[in-house]
Assembly symmetry: C2
Homo-oligomer: 244 residues x 2
């Protein structure tokens, strides 16, 4: 209790912390949201971990109010699960929920890429190609994860459907932790056991980029749908990822 007094931090606290980038007059709740979201996406907060309001507030040097709003925001994004009077935990997807997300993505991402395909600038296509090559070269699973995400999201970015793009980003965020685990394992096994998983993905990327460079919306949609479905089925073959 006496410790409480330590937490008394005044608003102007410019305290040397590199935590979040707090720009101009941005509400602290948004700072807290970004802070927690990044912690979850980077895996610093693993699935199921409890998040205490006061602990986060202390880390950020704020009161619990902005933290509470951040938690609610993240619950809406599907990154944490929040039970009244119990508390917040990093969301843990079971296999069915995960499969459902992939099934939804299978419908929405082809739409996004189809709408994007005809609108991508040559510059954007160049960046996509560059990203694809980097992905093929990368062998660090964390880097791979980051680049793959960037590649796909960039391929949708020209679609004039902001709400759709937000939803898709949310899906990627929700499943990020599992992709991390999965590709971490794939990378570990690559030398000996399953050498076809990643190359298959690389092939899909090439087909996708080819369709995009031809501005072929239909083809891009089909390739992407297959790509996502393949991933979903791979997930089904690795259900033990969820049983932990």
């Amino acid at each position: 209790m006496a410790v409480m007094s330590i937490s008394r931090q005044h608003p102007e606290t410019p305290a040397a912390d590199g935590d979040p980038a707090r720009l101009d007059g941005e509400p602290l709740s948004q700072v807290a949201t970004r802070y927690l979201r990044e912690a979850i996406l980077e895996g610093r907060l693993g699935a199921g971990v409890r998040i205490r309001q006061e602990a986060v507030a202390r880390e950020l040097g704020t009161s619990r109010i902005p933290v509470r709003e951040a938690l609610q925001q993240l619950e809406n994004e599907g990154l944490i699960s929040l039970s009244p009077r119990i508390g917040a935990r990093v969301a843990r997807l079971d296999f069915e929920e995960s499969a459902e997300l992939y099934r939804i993505r299978e419908e929405l991402e082809p739409l996004a890429i189809a709408e994007s395909a005809t609108r991508l600038t040559d510059a954007a296509l160049g960046q996509l190609r560059e990203l694809m090559l980097q992905i093929e070269r990368s062998d660090d699973p964390a880097l791979w994860l980051l680049l793959d995400r960037r590649f796909h999201l960039a391929s949708y970015a020209a679609a004039p459907m902001p709400r759709l793009l937000k939803m898709i980003e949310g899906f990627w965020n929700s499943t990020q932790q599992y992709r991390r685990i999965y590709y971490g394992r794939v990378a570990r096994e690559r030398e000996d056991a399953s050498p076809q998983e990643l190359p298959m993905t690389h092939l899909d990327h090439r087909l996708l980029l080819d369709a995009l460079e031809r501005r072929d919306a239909v083809d891009a949609g089909c390739v992407l749908r297959t790509h996502i479905r393949r991933t979903r089925l791979a997930l089904a073959r690795n259900q033990e990822l969820f049983t932990q």
Copy 2:
């Protein structure tokens, strides 16, 4: 300012208000969320209307804190738009945003009904048929709106995809105000001008129910996709709904 002291309500306030159903230990923020959501869906709060935290708090006899959480929740649902330091307004969709929602629905609702079609019980089918007949008989646009919504959501309900169903309900909520305006006008014009709009919808419903009774997932999906697309195109022909 002196008035402020009046608003001083203690937590136990059993004040006689029928506002929201506040059950057991439910957080007030959820009560506030339901309260505002209903107000918006029923049209008591029209598009663009500003929502003041303190006003809502006073109506509910709470502080602003639960109201703020409700506002954030409703923003995630797309029912209000919330700008930092400015305030909250009931969301106003322009034509493009609305078309985007319909385009997304065109992908997701066929999925939902396909997954639902093979799982609907005979009892559920009976209720659907009853709903359909009520819809055809109803001439009050408000009732029509309610029943149509119930019919479609009920047709998806058997799909084992809770997240998808929540998203779909959110889309219906987001566009509810515009449907209200649109069908209100259609009803007014029915006697003289455009007598084909509603019967077309009734026909779609019959085709849909037929497919469902045959448990034909593919057919149901196709019919539904066409139904939604038709609605989207009707929307495009009535863009002036948004220019107000």
